[in-house]
Assembly symmetry: C2
Homo-oligomer: 144 residues x 2
DNA sequence: TTAATAAAAGACAATAATGTCCTTTATTAA
DNA sequence: TTAATAAAGGACATTATTGTCTTTTATTAA
């Protein structure tokens, strides 16, 4: 469904969100440890998230990554996926046709439409806030 | 969503299905041309479909690929996807956790459950017969 | 039996995704 | 101002996916 980069990216973002505000910044090492991801690769992905203004970062002593508290509600899964994998997941034709459309549909166009709609709805309506809440409550997990 | 192999595989299977029975076998060259796919790569994918008993093949003069008419109804999209990409599309955790489950769910487990269910339902209930019918009627397309 | 045909099979090539390592830049505290 | 810290950036390595090419095997028709 998503690329590995995107999976790590989502997990990293959720972890950073759980540390939001009270504990301040989180370092790369801790993030990679807590989401069980390759540290250098995770760094690359975080750079993308920072460039897309989803995560804030600061260098130097006491630096690290954070997400503004008042953005937890407004940041949706779709924003993270879009930043890392682009919009091809939603827009791409299920059978890889380059010009698949209502006027020139592939054989599964109509069938996929509904699945895609569900996926997009879910991604657009799932906020970082609710995802991080599950982690904080110990109901959901970011590794293994 | 699916790998390129799987996209070509589905398109090839549908095309072969449209030639089912009356016109007999279809050759590799024609298949690749009609679904606009790299010919040698398509050959490899067809081998997988043949091994999985989705497509029948025969060598030599007048040989080619075909699908038995009485199997058009029973072959579902899920069979093709499974043969080429395996079942990871449906079973894999959305965030890549190796042991994601109801007891140990990732943060999007519950959210993905419904999307996946929709996808699986669609794949399990879409037959080659109905997909090839759209092509025969000129309502759907296999390339561009 | 031989020649032509077409898929099967295996080896190889190109590209993209994933992952690592090292250097640079910015920040903080001493 | 210097040393320590931590992210940013660039170059490189590994692996998986996609794609090509050549040889082999099976089938048919002459």
């Amino acid at each position: 469904m998503f690329s590995k980069s995107c999976e790590y990216g989502i997990r990293a973002t959720i972890f950073i969100a759980t540390h939001c505000c009270k504990e301040g910044k989180v370092g790369l090492k801790e993030i990679a440890k807590e989401i069980d991801s390759p540290i250098a690769f995770t760094a690359k992905i975080l750079q993308v998230l920072v460039k897309n203004n989803i995560v804030k970062s600061s260098k130097g002593v006491g630096g690290g990554f954070m997400i503004l508290k008042d953005e937890l509600k407004s940041i949706k899964l779709v924003n993270i996926v879009n930043a890392i994998d682009g919009d091809s997941v939603f827009l791409r034709c299920g059978l890889g046709l380059s010009n698949c459309s209502e006027e020139h549909p592939c054989p599964v166009h109509e069938k996929f439409k509904f699945v895609k709609k569900d996926l997009i709805y879910m991604l657009e309506n799932t906020s970082l806030e609710e995802l991080s809440l599950g982690i904080k409550k110990g109901q959901t997990f970011l590794k293994y």
